[in-house]
Amino acid sequence: MSMTAYQWRRYTIRTAIYVALILLTVVFLTPVYLVVVTSLKDPAAINLATAWNTPETPYWQSFSEVLDAFGPRLQNSFALVIGATMLSSLLGSLNGYVFAKWRIPGERYLFPLMLFGMFIPYQAILIPLFDFMRSVNLYGGVIGLILIHTVYGLPITTLIFRNFYVDIPDEMLEAAAIDGADFFGIYQHVVFPLSIPGFVVVVIWQFTQIWNEFLFGVTMTNTDSQPITVGLAQLAGGEAVKWNLPMAGAIVAALPPLLVYIVLGRYFIRGLLAGSVKG
């Protein structure tokens, strides 16, 4: 039973596709391998020529050293992420509800004006923001950083919720209105119960974005209020670094968003694609 020319061709193409995919997977994971291997090496055993070798015995101490070095920065990041994510999602949900379902004066202009806020380079507002935060005594604290991330998170959370709520049929809202529900009643009984997937998308998106953020973290904090990304940059900065520490630090800093991504990847992708406004 020999294969026809068509079958041969098909077979070759399928094989080539899988070979390409596996090669690309290896390329994408190569940095991960190097990070893990380096983070588990005794600092005395790290040198450039043997960078790719596996450690003889895993050296776990780097991780406890890193946790010490990060100190309060991990807690800062968690406090920041929880506070700013909750605030910006709640406000975003309310805004999205108004923009999707209520006619308000000037909405044709207000919505795009709000969206523009998520594309600006934050460098452009950094110095006035610095000035403002100092004048209201919020500069250099986690609370101030929560405020900043909440405000600059509003455009994207509003956008995602608005696009989500537009798909709720108006008839459902009208029916609730006829039953006597007012603005809040409709939100509470109709819109909010349908929002759970929307909240999952927004919360995941804000969580990863704020956790990973660096610019505000490095300019709007002092040593006590720095987030983890700043801690990592300090750990890795400078010339004579012991590479086991930055690598273990990178793993610690990457783990929370990575876990969220692996468990809830589908929702992460939806947040990702929402950033391109209307795909």
């Binding site: 997977t25 790719w52 209520w102 380079p121 460098q123 006035p128 990973n212 930055p246």
Partner: protein
């Protein structure tokens, strides 16, 4: 729902967010523009962080300085770096994302697994990516010795982030000529593409635009903008302009991180093409390759453009990746986003930093406003 009282409440509920965004985005942008026209941080008699600091109006002096002053060559080099970074980063992500998306569209076993792998760097911070790749690209180790470790080949001799090489060096005064050539090349390419698709009108417009670009150059209209900027002081022999080789490693890291994003966009776009359309083409005798060339890829064009704009504006703002990989003081890998940080928050030269930030905002606005406008018009015409 048409109840006036409820509509009033709706507006009131939106108001706090509107006010916050109004102040934190538009108020602060206004203030940044204002600051960029003062001497805040330049006047030795006025400590920049004093409780009351007198800021005098200096007009466009800061802009003139960063564009022409010899000592301010960092900013001009940052602009050149942003240009090369943007072009290579955007093209790299689009090409890699397209390859990944097309491979994953072949009904492969384990598609979800592969997609998760290619997209996972998107969940990382640029600081994490930068830290990892700084170690990957150590001269004498990392990627450079991989050929040796794997196949016993000689190692790569390239110092990546530490490289001082300048490729494609050019003179500041020739920038208008290069921009004109690039513009004509792109328009000519479009004209040929439109013509081959028998879109004669679009093709004619492209040719017309190319002629206008050429005439603008020939009539020396550029001189109005460029002559004041191309002073002898602006040419800085100690920091020649060109493609700084130190950027190559940063671009590779950025593409590694972001090509999953373009892949996800392209997969969503490809899946949006109705299967019946592809089937119909196959029935008409199209090969699988033709189905992609004639049916799928043309439908992806608007998505490719969206991806280019989103990536382009990311690369105009890039800061944390360069900070983590090259550090804030690598003169060869300097970008505007980094300069705002070093000038503003380390040197306290707030006015100069503001001028740089305003120029960044200008370029981002230039590509984002038309994009937002077309996106929202499109969704409105679809009946919201």
């Amino acid at each position: 729902m048409r109840n006036n009282r409820d509509r009033y409440i709706a507006f009131v509920m939106l108001l706090p967010s509107l006010i916050l965004v109004g102040i934190f985005v538009y108020g602060f942008i206004g203030q940044a523009i204002q600051t960029s026209m003062t001497d805040w941080g330049q006047n030795p008699a006025q400590p920049p962080l004093a409780a009351t600091v007198i800021k005098s109006f200096v007009g466009l002096q800061n802009y003139e300085n960063i564009m022409t002053d010899t000592l301010e060559f960092y900013f001009r080099n940052a602009l050149v770096n942003t240009f090369f970074f943007t072009v290579l980063f955007v093209l790299g992500c689009v090409a890699a994302g397209m390859i990944l998306a097309l491979l994953l569209d072949q009904k492969v076993v384990g598609e979800g697994f592969f997609r998760t792998i290619f997209l996972f760097p998107m969940a990382l911070s640029f600081v994490v990516t930068g830290t990892i790749w700084r170690w990957m690209l150590q001269p004498g180790g990392g990627v450079n010795i991989l050929p040796q470790v794997l196949f016993g080949l000689p190692p790569i001799e390239f110092s990546w982030i530490n490289s001082r090489d300048v490729w494609l060096p050019f003179e500041w005064g020739n920038v208008p000529a290069y921009l004109t050539m690039a513009g004509i090349a792109i328009l000519a390419f479009l004209a040929v593409r439109y013509a081959s698709a028998r879109r004669w009108r679009a093709s004619r417009y492209a040719v017309l635009a190319a002629v206008i670009v050429l005439l603008v150059f020939a009539a020396r209209l550029w001189d109005f903008v460029w002559l004041p900027l191309d002073t002898p002081e602006a040419e800085t022999p100690i920091a020649p302009k060109g493609f700084n080789a130190a950027l190559v490693g940063i671009i590779i890291a950025a593409v590694w991180q972001m090509s999953g994003y373009t892949m996800a966009m392209f997969i969503a776009g490809i899946r949006g093409v109705p299967e019946e359309l592809r089937e119909a083409a196959r029935v008409d005798g199209c090969s699988e390759l033709d189905v992609y060339r004639r049916i799928v890829l043309p439908q992806l064009n608007p998505i490719i453009l969206s991806a280019m704009i989103i990536l382009g504006h990311i690369s105009l703002k890039i800061f944390d990746l360069v900070f983590a990989m090259a550090g804030p003081d690598n003169a060869k890998a300097v970008v505007p986003g980094l300069l705002v940080y070093t000038e503003g928050f380390r040197e306290n030269a707030f006015a100069k930093a503001s001028a740089i930030a305003v120029i960044m905002l200008f370029f981002v606005t230039l590509i984002i406003v038309p994009y937002l406008w077309s996106q929202l018009r499109e969704s409105r015409s679809r009946g919201r």
